[in-house]
Symmetry: C2
Subunit: 197 residues, 2 copies
DNA sequence: TGCACATAAGTGAACATTCATTTATGATTG
DNA sequence: CAATCATAAATGAATGTTCACTTATGTGCA
């Protein structure tokens, strides 16, 4: 039996991420992708069932890497302040080191594929997050609010800052914007202040 | 001279919003749109230069309505607490009353058209926001932080809550989620706490 | 060791559709 | 009439996917 070339799979993934981010979902065509990856169109269909399957599997791949990175050095039993800081750093690192993957995931979240994509979230990740929040509340380090309120305040500001950073521009009036550690930690402090009892 | 049918323009807009939100940008085709609006494909090209122009003009339209709604009853000279509350209510109302337009705008923001779309933001809106923040800082009602930090904390959580609401689901573990006034006002209070000196 | 066989990887050309856009022509109204 | 709206029909290019086929590689048997 002929063995599969592992390089092809990676090349296909990389080119697909780049193509989707640069040209949007309508910019991704199987034939263009094949040409970019130096592969026959038919070869793509050996790896992926069809176009939707390709996109969803790319999402699963990125999602997995993202959760893996986010959990690095994170202890669900740690103090709220420490745990949140680790997560901010990890999440920011992932987005800054893999901008294409991160952007791609956001595109999927506003696409019709979203519903199918959410189901790919890893239960272990969700459980770790829940345990962390639950412990922090029990120890009186975190106010008792609905999880959605918590998440909105705890992480949405970080992702907004990263969005500003990615475009190199903040608010329309600002000339240019680049997220540095100082700014990030300042924002984290304010968020922590909001969530502390 | 023959007069243009104003109904056609509105129908085209509405059907385009619906089509893009439901099927994504690759789901929007000029021929499908024409059929949905009960119009010939060529007619679309009377109203819009090409496909990109159509999307950008839709964005300009939605953006205008959004800023208009957001400024309703908003006084840039009002107190920070009051002004922020008015904006939260206005922004939430717009998103809830025009979910298609709101979702469409987010799709554009993660598409390659983003750069061209930002330029359509209205200067008057930006100026009102700046004046509001500046005044609040001067009166000591708001901490002195970069505008991007302010915006991230002041509004990102609201939009995250609306995103949860739209999908009817909050965090993956939650069975279902619906944003009510109480939850929104609770979140607003926490955000205000974070931004107060 | 050598050699056929089985099997999966990989291919280029071709499929019917659909795409965005244009052209030639008619309809409507100032 | 003259100007603009509106259309049906048609354009070539590009789409996702499949097909018949070749190539590579591990296995079983001599």
């Amino acid at each position: 039996m002929r063995t599969r070339d592992p390089k092809k799979e990676k090349t296909l993934r990389d080119k697909a991420f780049a193509m989707i981010v640069k040209e949007g979902f309508d910019g991704l065509s199987m034939q263009k992708l094949a040409k970019a990856a130096g592969v026959s169109p038919a070869t793509i269909y050996i790896y992926y069932k069809d176009r939707d399957d390709l996109i969803l599997r790319l999402y699963a791949y990125a999602s997995h890497r993202m959760t893996e990175h986010t959990l690095q050095g994170f202890d669900p039993a740690s103090s709220f302040k420490d745990g949140l800081r680790v997560q901010w750093i990890n999440r920011a690192e992932y987005c800054l080191q893999h901008p294409l993957e991160a952007h791609f995931m956001e595109q999927v979240r506003f696409s019709p594929l979203y519903d199918r994509a959410v189901k790919l979230m890893e239960p272990g990740f969700i459980e770790a997050m829940r345990a962390f929040v639950k412990g922090a509340i029990k120890r009186g380090e975190l106010i008792r609010v609905p999880v959605e309120v918590y998440w909105s305040i705890a992480f949405a500001p970080l992702y907004q800052l990263l969005k500003f950073h990615k475009h190199g521009k903040g608010m329309p009036a600002t000339e240019s914007f680049a997220l540095d550690e100082k700014t990030m930690m300042l924002t984290l402090e304010l968020v922590t202040k909001a969530l502390k009892p």
